[in-house]
């Protein structure tokens, strides 16, 4: 670890401030970004190893708090997060098995914490500033929370009847029970946020008026305009917008669906539409996707549960037109040819000429994405008339007017949106006061050798218990499908985490080059190197390995390969291997830091 460090109070809710070093050295940030892949992959930078470890130790409340301090709604996210962390989990690497069910552990922390669990938050004194946040989806709620905690007086405006945005109106109840959502929203609002529902900005109140009433205005109005296929027949009766479909259901209505339903789209909304259609009485439901099932971005669990309910996924087909006279009768598709995966992560798809065929349908639900709805306001707009905000500063061209979340970027995931809301809040607070309130740094602390046992690496991934198929549609089609881990299962899953925040390092001045550590390592994580190439920021960029003993200049633990089994520490005859806990943490800067 580098020397660009300082000692301070912890800021952590779970440990007293002792023997802790905080670093803001870029090399240390680089280290964490490479070596703690789950936390780096999380848009909110949730400290995954820490909360999994807390749960393992039986501290469910602490595990919940370690989530909540950065992602605010662990009970919600533990159910519906897109789980970018699991895609990067080291346990999922080729020869290591399957990724840890990180999200399910998060939910277990929420489920099993004490019913009277006390929420602790760092709160700053009142700022004497008024901020209006427009939109109470994940971005708006997160921004409102952080601004309120910072000391601003926050008013949250919501156009719909209840707060939550897409969480409430876009995600079906069988995936996200409303009592969980309501509780976590309440936990945010009770910091003193004034919520006003049924207020549509642009119609009921103008942005100009808000700018005159408040010190800053943040637009976090989400994406509520459905994208259209722009193919012939799209406006035939029986063709529904996916977003309208799920919103109607969430509002207590039951849209009519035919026996045969085709859902066009590949995201969570498409899956929600398909599963909802089944609950509304459809007999034969298929999700039609342009690429392959393996290219889908929804979680494996979601795909599995959807297929278990009898919904089919038809891959490698692209819709050309909706066919029918007075109403929809089917969709004409072309087969598609999958090409390379683009930098966006999506696969390039080419329709194959001459491969057209018609799939019969009584209802077609189009769920191919959404866009932001333009709100009348001053300031620079994009080509669709939507207010533009800077992706980093969230500032618009109008002073004191900001934009964030999906409204600013287009549709993203809940966790991305929530993270964007928090960042926007920090920027607004800084602009209003000239002070920083929170800071990310690397906390380094001596750690004992891990007590993980090698046998834990072979524990199978614990599958989420779910409601039996025959009980899903009747008697209550809104029943939550995933039941949640019981404590024992959560414990087993928590054991699978390698705890990548542990950093193993060989002190070369003590090493006697006996190579016992290399012999004991279960994979090629300890390397004989001739050279360590360091980047401009001081971070290790490359280890140049050598098999020629004469060229060996060091024995180095490659923490990006290490699975933290601790075998090397146990066999080292000269105790030259140290273990430290290296974490990316967000700290409240007491007294307010200089901007």
């Amino acid at each position: 670890m580098s020397n660009n460090i300082h000692h301070e109070g912890s800021g952590d809710l779970t440990e007293p401030a002792k023997n802790i070093i905080y670093s803001t050295d870029p090399a240390d940030f680089h280290y964490v970004s490479v070596n703690v892949p789950c936390q780096s992959a999380c848009p909110a930078q949730t400290n995954v190893p820490a909360y999994i470890r807390a749960l393992y130790e039986g501290w469910y409340g602490d595990s919940y708090d370690l989530n909540r301090i950065v992602n605010l709604m662990p009970g919600v996210l533990g159910r519906i997060c897109s789980r970018p962390c699991e895609q990067k989990c080291r346990h999922g690497e080729h020869e290591l098995g399957r990724a840890v069910n990180i999200c399910h552990v998060k939910r277990a922390a929420s489920d099993h914490k004490d019913v009277n669990h006390v929420l602790l938050e760092p709160l700053f004194p009142p700022l004497g500033k008024k901020v209006c946040v427009v939109g109470s989806g994940p971005a708006g709620l997160a921004a409102a929370h952080d601004l309120s905690a910072t000391g601003a007086h926050v008013t949250l405006l919501e156009a719909l009847d209840e707060p939550g945005g897409m969480l409430r109106y876009g995600i079906p109840e069988f995936r996200l029970p409303r009592d969980i959502l309501t509780t976590e929203i309440e936990s945010i609002l009770r910091l003193g946020i004034t919520l006003k529902t049924g207020v549509r900005v642009g119609a009921d109140v103008s942005v100009e008026q808000l700018l005159s009433d408040y010190d800053a205005v943040l637009i976090a109005a989400g994406c509520y305009t459905s994208k259209q296929l722009e193919i012939p027949g799209e406006h035939l009766p029986g063709v529904l917008s996916g977003l309208d479909f799920v919103m109607q259901i969430a509002s207590g209505h039951s849209p009519e669906v035919g026996e045969r339903v085709l859902v066009l789209g590949a995201g969570f909304t498409a899956f929600d539409c398909a599963r909802s259609a089944l609950r509304l009485g459809a007999e034969d439901v298929s999700i039609c996707i342009r690429a392959t099932e393996h290219d889908l971005r929804v979680t494996e669990d979601e795909i599995y549960e959807t297929k278990r309910e009898g919904i089919r996924i038809k891959g490698l087909i692209a819709a050309n037109r909706v066919v029918g006279q007075m109403t929809v009768e089917g969709v004409e598709f072309s087969r598609t040819e999958p090409r390379e995966v683009l930098s966006s992560g999506r696969r390039r798809i080419i329709p194959i000429p001459g491969s057209e065929f018609i799939e019969p349908a009584d209802t077609v639900i189009v769920a191919i994405g959404q866009g932001a709805e333009p709100i009348p306001s001053p300031g620079k707009k994009n080509e669709r008339g939507v207010l533009e905000g800077d992706p980093k500063t969230f500032r618009t061209s109008v002073p004191r007017l900001y934009a964030t979340g999906d409204f600013n970027t287009g549709p993203t995931t809940v966790i991305e949106s929530l993270a964007a809301g928090r960042k926007a809040a920090e920027r607004i607070a800084e602009d209003l006061t000239g002070k920083k309130f929170r800071e990310w740094s690397i906390r380094i602390q001596d750690a004992k050798i891990t007590d993980r046992q090698r046998s834990w690496d072979f524990i199978p991934r614990q599958e989420m218990p779910s409601v039996p198929i025959e009980n899903r549609l009747n008697p209550c089609p809104t029943v939550e499908i995933e039941i949640g881990y019981p404590k024992g299962q959560a414990l087993e899953e928590s054991k699978r985490c390698y705890l990548c925040y542990l950093h193993y390092e060989i002190d070369i001045s003590k090493c006697i080059y006996c190579r016992l550590c290399i012999d004991s390592a279960p994979r090629d994580c300890i390397k004989l190197v001739s050279e360590v190439i360091v980047g401009r920021d001081g971070a290790i960029q490359e280890l140049v390995e050598t098999s020629d003993w004469r060229n060996v200049s060091a024995v180095v633990i490659d923490n990006s390969r290490c699975i933290r089994c601790g075998e090397c520490v146990r066999v080292c005859p000269v105790d030259c291997i140290s273990v430290s806990k290296v974490e990316l943490v967000e700290r409240a800067l007491q007294g307010g830091g200089e901007s």
Binding site: H94, D295, R308, V341, I469
Partner: protein, 338 residues
Amino acid sequence: MTARHVVIIGNGPAANEAAISLRTQAPDARITIISKEPIRYYKPHLLPDLIAGKVSEQDLYVNPLEFYKENDIRLRLGQEVVHVSFATNEVVMEHKEVVRFDGLIIATGGKPRIPEPLQVFEDLMLSLKTLSDAKVWKERLRWVDSVLIVGGDLTSLSFTKAVLSLGKKVYFILHGDSFWPVRFNEELSSEVSQRLSDRGVEVISCRKILRLVMASEDSVEVETDGRKLRVGAIGAFFGLVPDVKFLARSGLAIERGIVVDEFLRTRFEGVYAAGDCAQVYHPKLRDYWVSIGYRNARNLGRVAALNLLGGQESAETAPAGIFQLDDISVNTSWWTEF
């Protein structure tokens, strides 16, 4: 291409036909077959006959080990590939060895498919894909007098014949989703039902299986949306899914199989897929096609090898609904052969 080192992953009919075609066409090529199964190449389509007692295990094996030595084909059995890097043309083995290749033919075949709604009952169902599966069936059929077959793939019907020949009672549940690989419709359903009934099979009409429960050591209770019955064993015959988990995140497009064009090319230079694990787009059919059966697998293996060496041979594809039924050299609907 001048194939210097061709690696073939798999050891079934497609893989072996590819190997011998390569040897014939490229005498100097280095050829390596890698297979996770620690067993010699055998004819999987004869497994129902093995169960029926019509052939012995020895009859199943195709080539003696000397065959590979004589043809200078390196056979690496019991070794599993866990990753393929197409950027560096390397195959990574489970035991950490890295094998470089100039050409690669993926012919890993398929593994039994269990539809998601039935996966909770997986432990109560037997499949028939490998020799060891056949041995399990042989043993089970010694003790039970009835079998329920769920599904409707190619193997299911030859297996039904084998079970009937042993004097056992056969129940059959046909289901649209499980009738693989053809697209199911009412006409097909009634035709297949009729043929099964003519043979003495009791075809059960139901929309879904609600519950399977182990009733005793040698009986399973089945509850469908229409009736309950007790059988000695349940066979799951829903076709195959490609056995290509190791290729996840490799960049290959995988749907019902590895997606290839009519020349069996993947989108990576020098990389081909053949046999049950290949999903071929064929312009004549104007559709994707997963070819099944011993003969088809061998043909695809041969085509992949020839095209890897620079050929331009199109994979033969029968018209939709028509199959080459294993060693029966007729183009016909396979269920009519039942």
